[in-house]
Each structure stands twice: as structure tokens, then as C-alpha cells.
């Protein structure tokens, strides 16, 4: 695993940030003149390795802000997030954590504190005694982060508010792909800054007036939602929300929504029966050991007219490509199932995330009603499984 020194991380992030400001993605007034600070908070992975750096953006008279910079190439990108309107004050945060824990457990002894991404990108303050953790409190809520679960769950399938190791659970293939993407991007920048226009330029200072990359025309927004056909101009959006019939039948409702899109009329009770989800009076969820049943039933209930596929840890591109092909997906997040009927991808600045990628989610919750998330921030959720299907028989 390749670690990145803070100096390199700051310079790469400075280049990326200058580029997006130059392109007008982030208003120049927001960050122009800001400098990526020299002092950083190292945010550790649950496994104890440095994961990313959180660095204040320094701008006299400007709104407070900070950036998150990868400390490990496995994260795939140098600039992870940019936040404006909130200050990052490591000392004050640690002090607040100390005060909170003292209120609750006066006798607790600890001699060190550090910041840990207990469920990336969520961070917590870890309190240690002689190098061993004695408590961990989530930043902001100050709720106690429970110890790591001992269950034999699969990698990258954390429960809600569960601590898990980003570096420890990232599949090897994904890690390699991320490291390659990181390396390729960094190489481009390293070659670029050899040019004479960059001579003498302070890379960690955001100054679009001096940044020598010519303005490039880029498409700022890319979005689509399911239509009656791929001809968006003349065909209407075409997807219907269905609420789950019990408080645990989110999978049944999700399968029903997808089948309904393909014009298969099944009741949710019938789908629940096929998936082994019990009855309305005695319902149950779908065990993780049977997640493959969704594929089996999407195909069986359509007499194999649909060819379904399950994807573990789906990326945004999978959702985007399927929606472009006018095909809905089922999305499992920890403990819940919904369907995806659209996406929205843009480079507009938003507090916390850059660039924004969102999904149009048809959520069967609450029961009998459902809701539509227009949009759900892809970067703040854990996507465990996705199911997509295409027609094989016409």
C-alpha cells in the first residue's frame, strides 16, 4: 500500500483545486487567495494506518473551510472533499471529546487522542491509554462508537454505526484499480508542472489568475432518469414508486418495482413468497446469505426473459451506465433495499463533497407509501450490492 507524504498530498490537491476553480466549478470568490495549510490532522483508518489528511484552508477574511487529502493511494484520488462554512479545529474537537468522556466516565484514564475514520468518511475521536483504545466518540454527536463487530460478515458490508476498516476491507482488485488511477492522475500532474509556465508557482495557493491551465469547455451536469424509451426528448419519465407492504419487505418491494418496469404484474405477497420473505402476518427480511436469490427470482419470475446480475460494491459508473441504457437497478445498502431510476453527476461545488454524484432513489420506505430521493449523495453512502437486468427474449 502506497502512502503519500503530506507535502505531496498538499501539492496534488492544490493542483486539483486550482483546476476546478479555473474551470469555474467552484466560485473563485470562495477560495481564491486561499492556501492549503501546512499543518494537518492525520486521520487514521480503524486498522491504525494513516488514511487521509484533513487540512484547514487558510484565507484571510474568508469563510472557514478544510480539505481532505488522501494519505493512501488506495483511496484513488488526491482531493477527497472540500468543505466550506465549517472550521476544522483539531485541538478544540479533541478537547470537546475529552470533556464529553469525562462527564460520562470520570474515572477513565487516557494519555493520548487521535482522529480515526471509524466508518469512512465519518470520523471520531479515539482516546488511548498506553497505545490501547479506551473509548471512541463520534465527532459531533459524541455517541460512543461500539467496538468492532465480531460477526463473520462479508467485507464492505458494515452495519449502521459500525466501525470498519476502509483499508482493511477494500477488495484487492478495487485497491489495485484505485492505486493505478491515483498514480496515473499524479503522473499527469507531475509532467504538467515541468512546463515553464509553472516555474515559481506556489502549488498550494489557490490563485486562478496565475494558474496556467487554459480554460477547457466541460459539461458541468450529466443526468438522466428512466424514460419510456432511451429517447428522452419525446418520451416521458417512466418509473413508479411502490411502498413496502410490511416493515421488512423492502427487498420484495424493490423487486416488484423493477418487474413492474418490465411490465410484469406480480403482487408483493407473491414476490415475498418466491424470495422466502414470509407472509404479511409473519414477514421477515432477506438474509445476507441469500442475496443471490434476487438474481434467481428476477429471472424465474420472468421465465428467463430477464438476465439478471448481482454486483458487489457497485461504483457510480455502474448505476450511470445502466440508467443510460434505460434499465432500473436494485440497490442494497446495509440493512435496506431500494431501487435506482436515475442519476445526477456534476462538478458544482457543494459543502463537503467534490464533485457531486447523486442517485435518484425510489425507496419503498415508509411502508405502504415509499419516498423518492432526488438525489442521494453517492459519496455519503455505502453501496453493498446492485442488481441489474436486461432483456434476453423479445
Amino acid at each position: 500500500m502506497a502512502k503519500i507524504a503530506l507535502k505531496e498530498a498538499r501539492e496534488l490537491a492544490g493542483l486539483e483545486l486550482n483546476a476546478v476553480v479555473k474551470l469555474g466549478v467552484i466560485p473563485a470568490t470562495e477560495v481564491s487567495g486561499a492556501r492549503i495549510g501546512a499543518t494537518a490532522t492525520t486521520v487514521y483508518d480503524v486498522n491504525g494506518e494513516p488514511l487521509f489528511y484533513r487540512v484547514p484552508l487558510q484565507k484571510r477574511g474568508g469563510r472557514p473551510g478544510f480539505v481532505d487529502l488522501a494519505a493512501d493511494e488506495a483511496l484513488g484520488d488526491s482531493l477527497l472533499a472540500t468543505t466550506f462554512g465549517a472550521a476544522w479545529n483539531e485541538a478544540a474537537i479533541k478537547e470537546q471529546a475529552r470533556a464529553e468522556i469525562t462527564k460520562r466516565r470520570r474515572s477513565l484514564v487516557f494519555d493520548a487522542t487521535r482522529i480515526v475514520a471509524f466508518s469512512f468518511p465519518k470520523v471520531a475521536v479515539q482516546l488511548l491509554s498506553r497505545g490501547q483504545e479506551v473509548a471512541m466518540l463520534e465527532w459531533g454527536s459524541w455517541a460512543d462508537v461500539p467496538p468492532a463487530a465480531v460477526s463473520g460478515r462479508k467485507a464492505m458490508e458494515p452495519g449502521n454505526f459500525e466501525r470498519w476498516s476502509m483499508l482493511g476491507e477494500l477488495p484487492v482488485s478495487q485497491r489495485r484499480a484505485n492505486e493505478q488511477a491515483f498514480g496515473a492522475r499524479a503522473s499527469v500532474w507531475k509532467e504538467t508542472i515541468k512546463g515553464p509556465a509553472f516555474r515559481g508557482l506556489e502549488l498550494v495557493k489557490i490563485d486562478p489568475t496565475k494558474f496556467p491551465v487554459e480554460r477547457t469547455m466541460i459539461k458541468l451536469v450529466d443526468n438522466r432518469e428512466l424514460h419510456y424509451s432511451t429517447d428522452d426528448a419525446t418520451h416521458h419519465p417512466c418509473y413508479e414508486l411502490i411502498g413496502q407492504a410490511t416493515n421488512v419487505w423492502c427487498v420484495g418491494a424493490s423487486v416488484q418495482m423493477v418487474l413492474r418496469f418490465w411490465r410484469y404484474e406480480y403482487t408483493q405477497d407473491r414476490i415475498a413468497q418466491a424470495l422466502g420473505l414470509g407472509t404479511r402476518t409473519s414477514p421477515n427480511g432477506l438474509p445476507y446469505s441469500r442475496v443471490g436469490d434476487v438474481v434467481t427470482q428476477l429471472e424465474a419470475l420472468t421465465s428467463n426473459a430477464l438476465d439478471a446480475t448481482m454486483v458487489t460494491n457497485p461504483g457510480f459508473d455502474l448505476f450511470r451506465d445502466e440508467i443510460r441504457g434505460n434499465r432500473p437497478l436494485i440497490s442494497f445498502i446495509p440493512g435496506h433495499s431500494r431501487t435506482v431510476a436515475g442519476y445526477h453527476s456534476c462538478l458544482l461545488h457543494l459543502p463537503g463533497q467534490l464533485p457531486f454524484k447523486g442517485l435518484l432513489v425510489y425507496d419503498p420506505w415508509p411502508p405502504n407509501v415509499g419516498t423518492i430521493h432526488r438525489y442521494e449523495n453517492f459519496n455519503t453512502n455505502t453501496y453493498q450490492y446492485a442488481y441489474h437486468a436486461h432483456l434476453t427474449l423479445v
Binding site: S141, N160, N284, G285, L350, G352, W365, P366
Partner: protein, 163 residues
Amino acid sequence: MELSDQVVKAAREALAGGIAGDKLVRARGRLRSPVALEHPNGGTHSWLVPVVVGRQLVGLVQIGLHLEFLRFTSFQRRLNSLEGTPPMAEWFSADRVRSLAAAMARPAELLGKPVLTYDQIPDRLVWRVEARAPSGEVRAILVAGDLAYEPGELAGTIGGLGP
């Protein structure tokens, strides 16, 4: 700037940036004061900023503790339409929630004030109502939409309650 103002500002930026809502919501939506979404373990998980058009609640902009946009949950059934949206007063009515919870209450149990939280995962918004028995025993009743139920464990399943 007060925290609630910052939360509303973040919600407004999400709407203006086109990543929340549709044209109708962006043109006619008005933001109301943020409501805290309680963490089931205590404390605040995030903020929900109601968006209304007239008296109708068209959606909730969810903003994280660090002012990051999480999602916009819409009650609209159709793009640019108010069809299916509940009145704001009804969705946030403690009386309505308590009357739904009452169906699950045991004899002599007293129901407390509904609290907006979630059932194990933040996607599953619920009202939690505490039911207190004369013996002092307290249990929770959850209300989601028009359904009241007792909380269970997700227990290694998608949806909850393994077979």
C-alpha cells in the same frame, strides 16, 4: 451565524445547485426551520429541512452534522407535481403519530412525545413513541407513514427480522 441558519443555507444551496428537488420545488419551495433527526443511541444524527409549497410538504432536505448534503427525500409522486404530498401540519402532527402508536399500545400504557429518528438505518425515518407501563417499564413503538410497529433487529438481513 446560528447553526440552524447554516443548516438552512446548506439546504438552500443544494436546491439552488440542482441536486435537490425538481423545477417546481426550486421555483416555489419554501424552507422551514430544521428539525433534528435523533440518533437512536442519543444525540443528533443529522438535520431535516422541510420544503413546503403552500401548505404541502414536498420533501425534506437532509443535511449532515458537518453541513454536508445527504439527500432530498421527496413526497411527490410525479415530477413538478404536488400529487401525493402530505400537508406539512399533518406529517409533523404529534397527535396523528400518537393515535397510530396507540393501536400498538397495551392497556394502561401511557404514550410519550413522538421523536423523529430512524429504525436502525438512516434511510428508514420513523417517529419513536415511548410507551410507559404502570410498572415503569418503557418500550418503544415506531411509526413510519401510517404503520405502527415494535422495533426488531436487522439481524443480518436486508429489511430486518431473519427467518
